[in-house]
Symmetry: C2
């Protein structure tokens, strides 16, 4: 439909035409139409905007937000369970948990059944901040959907569902 490879900065002198040497084989690839690239860019744009909110509101990093969100949703879990549900690496979880614990937003309770693990849960302070952030998150998502339009948002969700269903977990 549209062009999509224009340069809206307008500063440079010569606009680069898409006409390199093109050796022998099948030619170029339009990066800005390449699905993995587009997905990445879209995710980054949305995530950055949302990250600004919880960083401004609570000074959280992304891993901290995810741990908070997971604990807020499920109540009490171990670190590995958090990692599984939020798709984060062990060490990321470990450090985010430590950080939230330092803020007294969560508490560790040794498990009586398995002495390797600790049960993690939000403190009242943590839950209060979680509740505030949930409101912000809901508002953000609603605003995003409104911006995209219900129709486009629904299609986006369909596409994401397909990826989730057909591709396994990220690893």
């Amino acid at each position: 439909m549209t062009d999509r490879v224009e340069d809206k900065a307008g500063s440079g002198a010569s606009e680069r035409q898409q006409e390199p040497s093109e050796g022998a084989a099948g030619g170029r690839l339009d990066l800005s139409a390449f699905l993995p690239y587009r997905l990445n860019q879209a995710a980054e744009r949305v995530s950055q905007r949302f990250a600004r909110l919880y960083r401004a509101e609570a000074g959280l990093t992304r891993p901290e937000w995810r741990v908070l969100a997971t604990l807020g949703q499920f109540g009490t879990m171990t670190a590995t369970e958090i990692g599984r549900h939020s798709a984060m690496h062990k060490t990321k979880v470990s450090r985010a948990v430590y950080s939230l614990e330092s803020r007294h937003w969560l508490t560790r309770t040794p498990s009586s059944a398995d002495r390797r693990v600790e049960m993690l849960a939000l403190s009242p302070k943590g839950r209060q901040n979680y509740n505030d952030l949930v409101t912000i998150a809901r508002d953000f998502e609603a605003a995003l959907v409104a911006t995209l339009g219900e129709e486009a948002a629904a299609r986006l969700r369909d596409g994401l569902t397909a990826i989730e269903d057909k591709l396994g977990p990220a690893r």
Copy 2:
């Protein structure tokens, strides 16, 4: 529609029920249904799979692949232009360019018009590798679309287009 918050690992003893204390206000947020999270996960899954390919084929990092792809598409550009078209930070471009130059995949030519900039272009060796990677990229995208199904892929593209159109560039 569907549940989406189940745990297919099945290893743990007690499955966490979604029933934390729920203070006073409106309750929890299902992270795995939250649009920014879903977008991020989907992008990461796809990117990781594709990254495995060009890392195995050519030992490239993601910034290096993007610089290669951009130069391959546009022929000759400056570092700033590469950054603008591939949405990468200055320093990332600088170091990726240096790395590709060390492999003799690209050449620098001082610009006669502006002695601050250097015109960057792929060497024959670089273009050859680019051509190979373009084939891999096309195959990957085709396989991805086939996996998702044409229908779902089209909806995904619509959603991404909406994000690109309605949301500005990542910063």
